[in-house]
């Protein structure tokens, strides 16, 4: 197998708060190989956004990486200075954010914004504009020659997200990070954006890290999935295995709770009892033990390691300990 594009190893991140350090990410391992779409799924507070911000070098001022490494295209990202970051961000590593209403600059035309992104490219401005227009056409904006002169408020939410995708792919990045790219959109527009990402994938040869809380979207687009809970990766599997033979109790419950997976019409919907633990005051043992229906004594005193279940499928759970 080729060298992974992105390798995250034993990554831990803490936020300093008045209540003490909040351990938002703990011992996270993740590898993204070229050309793959890797999904990150989890509920609020599971650390998926913190993980993405860490990779992009956009962590808040009170956050600190306490352990681990992030290697992207052979370079340790934590060693980069601001100048080197500017070289990578937007060019090798691009991102599409959740809210298309706020990710574009409202006081600059789309043309200006799309030309600005290419500031490292020595080509003449006319060529840059041409390239930008070609990308708008590829993401399905009609009349791109005229519309590129418009300001973001002239576009609908779905169109803005298309433009954000075009901007992210303009420099042909090696890795695209999409953080809940369709959450702000209606379901028919969501389907269109997912369709677009899948089409573009055949044209652009990079990898995608796709963050979502929506299991349907993950199933629709990803090759492999990482499930996160309260700051830890609890399961990692190839897409079919995750949906057909989930191994971590949390993954199993998460799948059971999704109303889209319940065939019969049920008035009473399944839930996961209890609440997510306080990350400033972590429980001893397994992070999920308090809510886990299969927890036994060992789970409450000792934290499980990550154990392989099958090729490319690993679980952080004592049920699968050798």
């Amino acid at each position: 197998m080729a060298e992974p594009l992105l390798t995250i190893d034993d990554l831990s991140v803490e936020f300093a708060t008045p209540r003490g350090p909040v351990k938002a990410l703990r011992r996270v391992d993740l590898a993204v190989n070229p050309g793959r779409i890797v999904g990150i799924v989890g509920e609020s507070g599971c650390g998926k956004s913190t993980l993405v911000s860490t990779v992009m070098g956009l962590l808040a001022g009170n956050a600190q990486v306490t352990s681990g490494s992030i290697v992207f295209e052979g370079r340790e990202l934590q060693d980069l200075d601001e100048e080197e970051w500017r070289d990578i961000r937007g060019r090798r590593l691009a991102m599409v954010f959740q809210d298309p209403m706020t990710s574009l600059n409202p006081v600059m035309s789309i043309a200006t914004q799309m030309i600005d992104i290419q500031h490292r490219d020595p080509a003449p401005r006319a060529d840059k504009l041409k390239k930008a227009i070609a990308w708008l056409a590829r993401v399905g904006i009609s009349d791109p020659e005229q519309r590129i002169q418009d300001y973001p408020h002239r576009f609908s939410g779905g169109m803005r997200q298309r433009i954000a995708i075009a901007m992210a792919l303009l420099m042909n990045p090696a890795l695209l990070i999409a953080d809940e790219p369709t959450t702000a959109l209606d379901v028919t527009l969501e389907a269109q954006i997912i369709h677009l990402i899948r089409q573009l994938r055949t044209e652009f040869d990079g990898a995608i890290l796709f963050v979502s809380h929506n299991l349907g979207l993950i199933a629709e687009i990803c090759d492999e999935v990482v499930v996160m809970y309260a700051g830890e990766v609890v399961e990692h599997a190839e897409i079919r295995r995750l949906f057909h033979s989930p191994s971590h109790p949390y993954t199993q419950l998460l799948l059971t709770c999704d109303p889209a997976r319940i065939e019969s019409e049920e008035r009473t919907l399944p839930t996961i009892g209890g609440t997510v633990p306080d990350l400033a005051n972590l429980p001893k043992g397994c992070i999920f033990a308090a809510r886990c229906p299969s927890a036994f004594d060992r789970c409450r005193v000792e934290a499980p390691g990550t154990y392989p279940v099958a090729d490319g499928h690993s679980v952080r759970c004592f049920l699968h300990a050798p």
């Binding site: 969501e190 269109q192 199933a219 109303p259 019409e265 919907l269 839930t271």
Partner: protein, 325 residues
């Protein structure tokens, strides 16, 4: 079952440009119709799901029932009493029997009041003095499964699910018969949304409540509603029993909405895109059937002649010249 809420030919319009500008720019019709020719009913003890995309008019419809937006024409009756044309002072007493659950659970609670104060508010607003408000607040909290300790908590100290429970408790304070819930599960995690929907379901059985649930979440509404009404550009395009709408949609728009929901099964990936384009502007409603610009099955007749609501044998009503069943 008796009809609790009945809406007939409702039309809600909003002015988009001022009188002078309309005159200067020669805009013949400075209005848009956010809700147009809508007729529906909610029976006692029933849950009606009102489904549509952003801008389809579903929230405006709920707000019109509460008297929060002016009605242009049509009728809204609750237990036989006509609401359209009521004075604000008369509407106030009507609102006691109409509960509203707003979309954002945290933002809909005042940050300056603790939960006890929030639960007392409905009684103060309606000048109800003959109840022990403190006792009522405790009773309401216990109904929604929160302990008394929450009385002193402020909105920002609550989780999304807890804030939603407080919202439900507040809605129940004045013992309404009909509750309008705007996206009750939005913003909640999948493991928590079930708790709120199950609670709403239990309360319905316990108090005989009726719900009008405004949502775009089809997987959820499928499990919690008896009937569905699908809105497009302010009109109802299809309404009928939830089960039959999901099993065999009659309107091409309903079919497209159902097909657009991603299936949490990697073996059921979609390759074809059901619905192209976006919702047209309310300022430029398409001719004929307003869905024809995006409809896969549109024919010449659809472009010129607007279809009327037509009853189907299974109790549904569909606004389409060529229904799919």
């Amino acid at each position: 079952m008796t009809e609790l809420l009945s809406i007939k030919n409702l039309r809600v319009r909003f002015r988009t440009v001022g009188f002078v500008r309309a005159l200067v720019d020669r805009i013949a019709d400075p209005f848009i119709d956010a809700v147009l020719d809508v007729s529906l009913s909610v029976r006692a003890g029933e849950t009606l799901g009102l489904v549509g995309e952003s801008g389809s008019g579903k929230t405006t419809l709920a707000r019109a029932v509460l008297g929060l937006v002016p009605v242009h024409s049509g009728s809204i009756t609750v237990e036989g009493k006509e609401l359209v044309g009521l004075k604000e002072s008369e509407y106030r007493s009507v609102r006691k029997s109409l509960g509203m659950m707003f979309q954002d659970p945290v933002a809909s609670l005042s940050p300056r009041k603790n939960v006890g104060g929030l639960l007392a508010e409905p009684f103060h607003i309606h000048r109800i003095r003959d109840v022990d408000i403190d006792k009522e607040a405790r009773r309401l909290l216990s109904i929604v499964g929160l302990h008394d300790g929450f009385l002193a908590a402020y909105a920002h100290q609550l989780s999304g699910g807890q804030a939603r429970r407080v919202g439900v408790a507040r809605t129940l304070a004045l013992k309404p018969k009909l509750i309008m819930a705007d996206e009750p599960a939005a913003g909640l995690d999948v493991s928590v949304q079930g708790e709120i929907l199950n609670l709403m379901n239990e309360l319905q059985k316990q108090f005989g409540l009726s719900y009008l649930i405004v949502t775009h979440n089809l997987p959820v509404i499928r499990h919690v509603s008896d009937r569905l009404a699908i809105m497009y550009l302010g009109r109802l395009v299809e309404q009928g029993p939830t089960r039959s709408l999901f099993a065999r949609p009659a309107h091409p728009y309903t079919q497209a909405l159902v097909a657009a929901v991603p299936q949490p099964d990697p073996d059921k990936r979609r390759t074809e895109l059901e619905l192209q384009g976006e919702i047209p502007s309310l300022r430029r409603r398409p001719s004929g059937c307003e869905f024809h610009t995006r409809c896969l099955y549109a024919q010449d007749r659809c472009r010129v002649e607007a279809p009327l609501p037509t009853p189907l044998p299974d109790g549904r009503e569909v606004r389409c010249h060529f229904p799919l069943i």
